[in-house]
């Protein structure tokens, strides 16, 4: 019988983390920004149908970078979790905190127990009545969870993008301003100085969805025309 090679737990975890980080670093970035009108989620994504940003529940959205099949299964699991919870208790009992902790547990379990860790990084955003009450959670492949203020940048060139976004961030931005800032961040590492509307995916969590649109579902996906319009508004 062949003997298994001994690998120390430290080495095993380090190898897995390096593997996951490499996978994530290949992908394009996502920016989530909390602003006056709500939360803007902006991703560099040339596909019009394979989304990196999605609706989870009334006030909660999801954004991810990494392997599509892995984060898509996590998104669907999140929708199921939220819908079951909202159906069995009440809609207001579904919170980003609850969802984020379920994600943290699943990511953590996969990281330690499975053959291969998930090569994903997630953001869970919940819009509140005021910017102070917004919740932004960042979840990494090993199940670590962080509660962020203001904005989250994830993905391949997160450092450069994050620098550019941090330089321009202020709580008083409207959606157009937040989207412009996110796009300015996303092109920070590129040769070009703008991204066409067709190369990005933008969605917002509208703080005033009940009063503006008469719906408790705050999530709204912007199409190319909406993006172009919100970019052109102040130029």
């Amino acid at each position: 019988m062949t003997q298994q090679f001994y690998v120390s737990p430290e080495q095993l975890m380090k190898d897995r983390a390096d593997f996951a980080r490499k996978g994530i670093a290949r992908g394009r970035s996502v920016v989530v920004i909390s602003c006056r009108e709500g939360i803007a989620l902006v991703a560099e994504n040339p596909s019009p149908s394979l989304h990196k940003i999605g609706e989870i529940y009334d006030k909660i959205a999801f954004a991810a970078v990494g392997k599509y099949n892995e984060f898509e299964s996590l998104r669907q699991a999140g929708v199921r979790y939220a819908d079951v919870r909202g159906y069995s208790y009440d809609r207001e009992d579904v919170t980003a905190r609850g969802l984020a902790s379920v994600y943290a547990q699943s990511l953590g379990a996969v990281f330690t127990a499975e053959q291969k860790p998930f090569e994903v990084e997630l953001a869970v955003a919940e819009v509140g009545i005021s910017p102070d009450e917004d919740h932004l959670y960042r979840l990494t492949f090993d199940g670590s969870i962080a509660d962020e203020k203001g904005f989250i940048v994830m993905g391949g060139q997160a450092d450069k993008v994050s620098e550019a976004v941090a330089a321009g961030w202020q709580g008083e931005l409207d959606f157009a301003g937040a989207i412009r800032l996110a796009l300015a961040g996303l092109v920070a590492d590129k040769e070009a100085d703008t991204l066409p509307a067709s190369a990005v995916e933008v969605a917002v969590l509208d703080r005033g969805s009940e009063s503006n649109r008469g719906t408790r579902r705050a999530f709204r996906r912007l199409d190319d025309a909406d993006i172009t319009a919100s970019l052109g508004r102040e130029n």
């Binding site: 999605g54 199921r80 819908d83 079951v84 069995s88």
Partner: protein
């Protein structure tokens, strides 16, 4: 066929919230296997279970879409259980549903149906077709058949705007989940035969929206006039029917003050006419 991982993944992939509940949390369904086998406790042999019942719902098509209205009364035997109950609900952005029958189960089925449609939309990233929605509702009513056999029946009326076809459409159901598309107008519940008579006289092709609201309220007025289980407009408590309109822009609820005016006009014209019937 060999049970491969791919087969398992495909078999487990469902966009239906009800299917998910059936697998993971069957106890949460308003109708479940637990209810099918055993008998619901009744008040004794031959005595039906006393539970609030919802009554009359009317729906009609008009020039720009479709409209649904319900009275506000729930009865339990010969007692009024509620004067405030609402029986017409938005199912999603482009459809509404009205329910007659055992109120408790009907409200739960409505809630499940609303989550079902929203769940599909979130998982798939697209809305179900109107026929797809109507079929899903039929399947839910069929699941409730064992309860219906014990006297806890729910009969819905479903209306929505068919975006590809550019018109409003109406569907009625029987307790076995049979789905029937209705033309022009339809009504369900204990007062339906009286409301139906009124609709036959008042409805005409290409009704404008404001006239459609008046026709629906008058049909409910006639139902309330002859059916004790249907509640009429109540000026004392300022209670008016619940009316939803579905058109190209979506579903919205007709505001109270508009309904107060419409109901006021009908009551006034009847008073002026001084007729007994």
């Amino acid at each position: 066929m060999q049970e491969t991982t791919a087969n398992q993944v495909a078999a487990n992939a469902t966009s239906s919230f009800t299917e998910h509940l059936q697998r993971q949390r069957p106890d949460l369904l308003p109708f479940g296997q637990h209810a099918a086998g055993q008998h619901v406790q009744t008040g004794g042999p031959g005595v039906p279970l006393q539970a609030p019942h919802g009554t009359t719902i009317v729906a009609l098509t008009y020039a720009g879409g479709v409209l649904m209205a319900g009275d506000r009364r729930a009865t339990m035997g010969n007692v009024i259980a509620s004067r405030h109950i609402e029986k017409v609900f938005p199912a999603d952005q482009y459809s509404v549903l009205g329910i007659a029958g055992t109120a408790g189960i009907a409200l739960d089925i409505t809630r499940l149906f609303q989550v079902e449609l929203e769940h599909y939309e979130k998982i798939e990233g697209t809305l179900l077709s109107l026929d797809g929605k109507a079929n899903r509702l039929g399947a839910m009513i069929r699941s409730n058949l064992p309860m219906a056999m014990q006297g806890l029946a729910v009969v819905p009326l479903f209306a929505g705007f068919d975006r590809p076809a550019g018109k409003g459409r109406l569907f009625s159901y029987d307790v076995t989940g049979g789905r029937y598309e209705e033309q022009e107008h339809h009504t369900v519940g204990s007062g339906s035969m009286f409301a139906r008579g009124a609709l036959k006289k008042l409805w005409r092709p290409n009704l404008p929206e404001s006239d459609a609201v008046a026709v629906a309220v008058e049909a409910l007025y006639d139902a309330a006039d002859d059916d004790s289980a249907t509640g009429g407009p109540d000026p004392v408590r300022q209670l008016w029917p619940v009316v939803y309109i579905v058109n190209r822009t979506g579903a919205y609820r007709v505001p109270e003050r508009e309904l107060a005016a419409v109901a006021g006009t009908i009551i006034e014209s009847r008073a002026v006419a001084q007729r007994e019937a």
